[in-house]
Symmetry: C2
């Protein structure tokens, strides 16, 4: 059975909406996702605000109420009939997120066994056939094929097969009509 590793933030969890809203609220700003094409939020805010962005993520509760990316639950459930699925998140960058991320998965993806959750840093440690991720940097030393999940920051990146939503994941990995 082939194995698919799936990232959390910007792939199954809508990190960016809350991240931008938190910034806008605190600094009375009006940044939109459209302004973030090809950029990270930290690249367009005032330099003095950048450390505050780090702090948002270090808040233990930040990750607890992220919205689920549309279609991800249904498609992953179906993928699990034909593939071995692991959820693989670079949580080591934000240790404060461990508990909230684990609970979020239990709440929204209770059908994924805890044995198939991985908190890591360098994703080259993953032994999988595919890695669906919004960060192409993880693909460089990954042993399988990286599938780039479209997010504003990665729209200009080329060199990988790309999916822009979960319907396209379904089309790529499951036969028509499944």
């Amino acid at each position: 059975m082939q194995r698919i590793a799936i990232d959390m933030d910007e792939v199954i969890a809508d990190f960016l909406t809350k991240y931008v809203a938190s910034y806008n609220e605190e600094f009375q700003a009006t940044i939109t996702k459209e302004q973030l094409m090809g950029l990270h939020l930290s690249e367009i805010v005032a330099e003095a605000h950048r450390s505050r962005l780090q702090e948002f993520m270090r808040d233990e509760t930040f990750f607890s109420d992220l919205a689920v990316m549309p279609g991800s639950q249904e498609v992953i459930r179906k993928l699990m009939d034909r593939y071995e699925v692991f959820i693989t998140t670079a949580a080591m960058e934000v240790p404060a997120s461990f508990g909230a991320k684990y609970e979020w998965l239990g709440k929204h993806f209770p059908f994924i066994p805890h044995t198939h959750i991985v908190f890591c840093g360098d994703k080259s440690i993953l032994n999988a056939d595919f890695l669906i991720d919004d960060n192409a940097r993880h693909f460089k030393h990954f042993r399988g094929e990286g599938i780039l999940f479209t997010a504003p920051h990665n729209v200009h990146i080329t060199g990988y097969r790309r999916v822009k939503n979960w319907e396209e994941v379904r089309q790529m990995f499951l036969a028509p009509g499944v």
Copy 2:
């Protein structure tokens, strides 16, 4: 560069000493490690006490003050000159341990970057050449070679190369005299 994945409990962290001491203290018992040859503690205690063993590990602080296995720091530091080293622990079994395990590594193995720490469940997800672990169950679907680190519970297990301490890890992976 070849890659070595290294387990935490019973390999770099002395889990068993505290586990047995905690049990003995609470139940005024006198169980020794010698009595645990080929067995897990849960197999020799009264059935009524087993759930308490689970509770020990669910205490967030249980893992915070485990002793470091003798020689592990020095040998891992030397391994890192010749191999890529990852610390890979089945922490998903005990989510309450996430924070304590991460802090313990930062305190005792500060030279291991956070990118090279993995909290997982099923270790077949690891892409490494070697896995040094006391639980042979992780070797079955592991893509590299499992090296069994001797612990009381695994003394009767055969079929794998075995090391009984960190001096033997040094001898297996590093040239004489290193």
